[in-house]
Amino acid sequence: MKHQQAQAESGEKDDNITDFGFKKVNKSEKANMVADVFHSVAAKYDVMNDVMSIGIHRMWKRYTIDCSGVKAGQRVLDLAGGTGDLAAKFSRIVSKTGQVILADINHSMLMVGKEKLTNMGIVGNIDYVQANAEALPFPDNHFDLITIAFGLRNVTDKSAALASMFRVLKPGGRLLVLEFSKPTSEVLSKVYDAYSFHVLPRMGKLIANDEESYRYLAESIRMHPDQATLEQMMQDVGFEQTSYHNLSGGIVALHRGFKF
């Protein structure tokens, strides 16, 4: 896998090539390929998340909300918001005087999220926008908080996406990136690898009848920058007071950065 990581790193240097899991693909193709994956899993996304993480993803998301510092009247962008787990809570916290925008590049995911939140009675202060994280269609200095949970690793140009988030964030605003990362213990790392490459695709086949998409999810996690690299990427686009917090032994990390 180290070989593949090295290949990926060298691939990043080629302007037109990027990774799609362990495969090398043309940058223009990646967005469509990722879109296909999420079109395929959208309907069973929540169930699969619960099964794959034994429900722990709810704790990771709750911790993200606890760290958001968001208040009534604020404007929040939940990027790659998928089925709206974070947006539902933010909508209640910002109250009627605030606004939440649930954005996702994938129309199917956005529609699943919209239906779910509407059924929960969450309407009024929430809007749905199909948007590419690399070129956000919002004015400069617009949001108090931006969150992106388990979405950044699917973005083709992560630095461009982070720069775009920096642009639309208000001075004093914060970015929270919740994403799979690198386990801090060797033993955990081996167990996690075995689970991701052997158990996860089979579960995908069993529950969502889609082994390939879940194989891609496992591969894309390995190709995602580790904690320190992502922190550096955030600093490179202008974020200050950056930090990260490992969750579940580094399987997931919450990165935080401010715009001043």
Binding site: I65, R92, I93, K96, M120, Y244, H245, N246, R256
Partner: protein, 248 residues
């Protein structure tokens, strides 16, 4: 925020705890008779609670969902500790309470809030009305178990379950009393490791009699002392009069 495994575990525990509190509070409000009415005045309000011993900050955020039923919801968040700037910039919809874990139960009594503030058991900032309303939610919430159960198992089922629960409760109480009685008899009769009530009463009577005797003796001694003092004073005055008459 670069973290080690212990802080990761702590964040996991706080998230789990927050989730448990939130689920319990909302479930209680949902099944109660008056929960929705009690939290309606708290819509869009936030009550931040700092528990001194645990050094944890909990925020209760009250909101409603715009559904046909307009159900109210409480979000529970574990915040990072607020500094003086955060506290001084509280909005009119927020209140901040710093309180000891052991005084938490006293928050249920709204009439005690001012007393607690005066006694420095509670630091408070923001709108006191919010705290009073939150306090009222926890003290005035009422449950109709039969009504709640009937939604799941029907009226007859709920009635039967509650009747059987009551009967079981009474049976359990009787069994408990019987067990305590048996335990008490065993301690007194079979293994005399405890003193019988009659012996305690007898001992108390003896102590009381001794106390009365001692008091009587004390009173007698006091009288003797007074009398001795008086006699001594009379003797002295007679002596001085005799000396004066001899001189003249």
């Amino acid at each position: 925020m670069r973290s080690n495994s212990s802080s990761s575990a702590i964040s996991g525990i706080s998230s789990l705890l927050g989730s448990l509190i939130e689920t319990s509070v909302n479930q209680a409000i949902r099944v109660s008779v008056n929960g929705q009415d009690l939290i309606e005045p708290l819509e869009d309000k936030r009550c931040i609670l700092f528990i001194q011993e645990l050094e944890q900050t909990l925020a209760f955020q009250f909101s409603n969902t715009i559904s046909p039923q307009k159900t109210h919801y409480v979000d529970v968040l574990f915040l990072s500790p607020l500094d003086q700037n955060d506290i001084s910039s509280l909005s009119q919809n927020e209140c901040y309470v710093s309180i000891s874990l052991f005084a938490l139960s006293e928050l249920k009594d709204t009439s005690k809030l001012t007393k607690l503030i005066k006694e420095d058991k509670l630091d408070f900032y923001g709108d006191l009305g919010i705290l009073q309303k939150v306090s009222k939610v926890f003290s005035s919430i009422e449950f109709d178990l039969e009504e709640t159960l009937s939604a799941y198992i029907g009226d007859a089922g709920a009635y039967n379950v509650l009747e059987k629960s009551k009967a079981f409760g009474e049976f359990a109480q009787k069994q408990h009393q019987l067990f305590m009685q048996t335990l008490s008899d065993a301690a007194l009769e079979e293994k005399p490791i405890a003193v019988r009530p009659i012996m305690v009463a007898n001992f108390v009577d003896e102590v009381r009699a001794l106390k009365t005797d001692a008091e009587r003796l004390e009173a007698k001694l006091n009288r003797y002392l007074e009398r001795t003092c008086k006699d001594r004073e009379v003797g002295k005055s007679e002596e001085s009069q005799g000396t004066r008459s001899r001189k003249s």
